[in-house]
Symmetry: C2
Subunit: 346 residues, 2 copies
Amino acid sequence: MPKVTLKKLAKILGISPATVSKALKNYPDINENTKKRVLELAKSLNYQPNSLAQGLRNNESKIIGLVIPEIVHHFFSNIISGVIKAAEKKGYLIIILQSNESYEQEKSHLKKLMDKNVDGILLSLSDTTTEYKHIKQVIDRGIPIVMYDKISKLISASKVIIDDQKAAFNATQYLIDTGCRKIAHIRGDLKPQTTIDRFIGYKKALAKNNIEFDASLVYNCKGLTFNEGYKIAKKIINDHKDVDGVFAFTDLVATGVLKRFRELDIHVPNQVSVMGFSDWFLTKITTPTLSTVHQPGYEMGQEAFEVLYRDICTLKKGLKIIPEIIEIPTYIVPRNSTKKLPKISK
Amino acid sequence: MPKVTLKKLAKILGISPATVSKALKNYPDINENTKKRVLELAKSLNYQPNSLAQGLRNNESKIIGLVIPEIVHHFFSNIISGVIKAAEKKGYLIIILQSNESYEQEKSHLKKLMDKNVDGILLSLSDTTTEYKHIKQVIDRGIPIVMYDKISKLISASKVIIDDQKAAFNATQYLIDTGCRKIAHIRGDLKPQTTIDRFIGYKKALAKNNIEFDASLVYNCKGLTFNEGYKIAKKIINDHKDVDGVFAFTDLVATGVLKRFRELDIHVPNQVSVMGFSDWFLTKITTPTLSTVHQPGYEMGQEAFEVLYRDICTLKKGLKIIPEIIEIPTYIVPRNSTKKLPKISK
DNA sequence: TTGAAAGCGCTAACAG
DNA sequence: CTGTTAGCGCTTTCAA
């Protein structure tokens, strides 16, 4: 199947490639009739412009890169979905790469994306990234980067985030409002900022309500797994018989807690309330269903693309990017693992 | 940051671009010394070839397209992950598009991918696709397509699949082997082939074991949702008090069944066994955990890319593609929603 | 062992 | 309104 090129169209019509190009691009200085002929022929021959050539010429690929820590993950696959949706509207395609929380991979992925002349990159930092030279290099090359979810304050670029601290504060406050006084917190690894922020939010909520912070109520969770939650639940109960709330930094862990509590015949939420974080799909199917903080992946993905798009346009106009920080609101999703709020609202 | 091009390197070194290109590409007819100088300069200036130009010249993009029905889905995100992993090894990047089970979107996605000069396409048919002209067009254009998961026998292309019929047969057989005799089947929409095949597998297993097929035990499930399972579970019990097994065509639905059964105080697996299909992540966290058929998304993704890669190479050599059909094996994952197999094995 | 030249397909500036 | 020309960055003859 010999490919249909501009040149060929031109030859068939007996006009120049330039004219054909303009006709196809709806330039104003083209005879209506010529334009019609071109358009018709193009359609009938099913002409597709060669985007490689276009890209080479115009110095843009209409492709953006998306670097994601882990694809098989409810939150991140929602992000992908949001990005694709928003990108589609503007005629952009998405190349996806997975960093697996590895700094090395992140670095090499950025390189690959630059090689492919992407017009911009969406990046969520890997947990092991502590240096940012590779990112600055990309930006210096004139390829805009927007960071989402896991970001660094040390990079000057647009960002799309949630306020983990506030979200965790609200979650803890919710537990308190529904009557909990002795609330354990299961936190993640020490490093990632999100984990730290959620921990701070937890502490702040306690402080605000004059509940003394008790370090022994804070449990460190190595992996982000169901099993970790399952194990820790037992520990919590052993250590603190009178605990009445658990706030886990992520749903999966909370789910493990739920399961163990049921096995231990600890009633949720009457004896102990449990609060997760993220609003993964699975929170709807546990028994009891899990109250959690909704982390809007889809919206983040959409927003991230839109910011990036704006930055791309800014850059194309030769202007300097003014980084935007966009915060996507989160909210509590009350389900059955927490008690009802008292009617008398503040 | 002015980009480093071949030309620039050539100028700096006082040699021709052609020579630089060859040096970089390890051509044999280049002076060792020249080569070294080129390589060094290239590295020190961090030269990256412009892939658009390369692509234009060599007529290949080193990008492949992946059309997926739905990204936010455990099975499919595993596929993505597998594809990316395999593609990475061969230096390919992946553009992802989501069809949302829409024929129109599928069609337009294929067009976009062709426009972007992808070297090949991985496609899982949307449920609403009944015509295949758009696919044949792509193949005619010389872009190889490999279909995975949801395929059509009417297309001559390589395919990566599981044997749904066999898998469903085994699942049903497993229920029978563990003592079930009156097994309900929750099936999906009428159209998709997978649904039909699973239904056939179910029937065949009954026949094989001399259990009479009873159409009233087959329930049609509109959506692929937890709620559907939840609703249907009640119906099953109302219609058939003595049912002792349920085989759902997908895990999510089975999970809904599990939940409703618990509410109805129907013991799983002692009174009724429940078997799902897919081995989604969530099957490990339900109560009881859900026995299911493992559907290996990651492996399918890897395999799909590899077949596509072979087809791309074949085509590049000017040979004709001989379609391969690759079947990825499935297996039963026994968990706690089914009874144990009797010790005396056949 | 090197380089000049042509061209992949498209577009933009400019001339007619 | 249309066409000529030049060139994006790279590769590949082919001649030197």
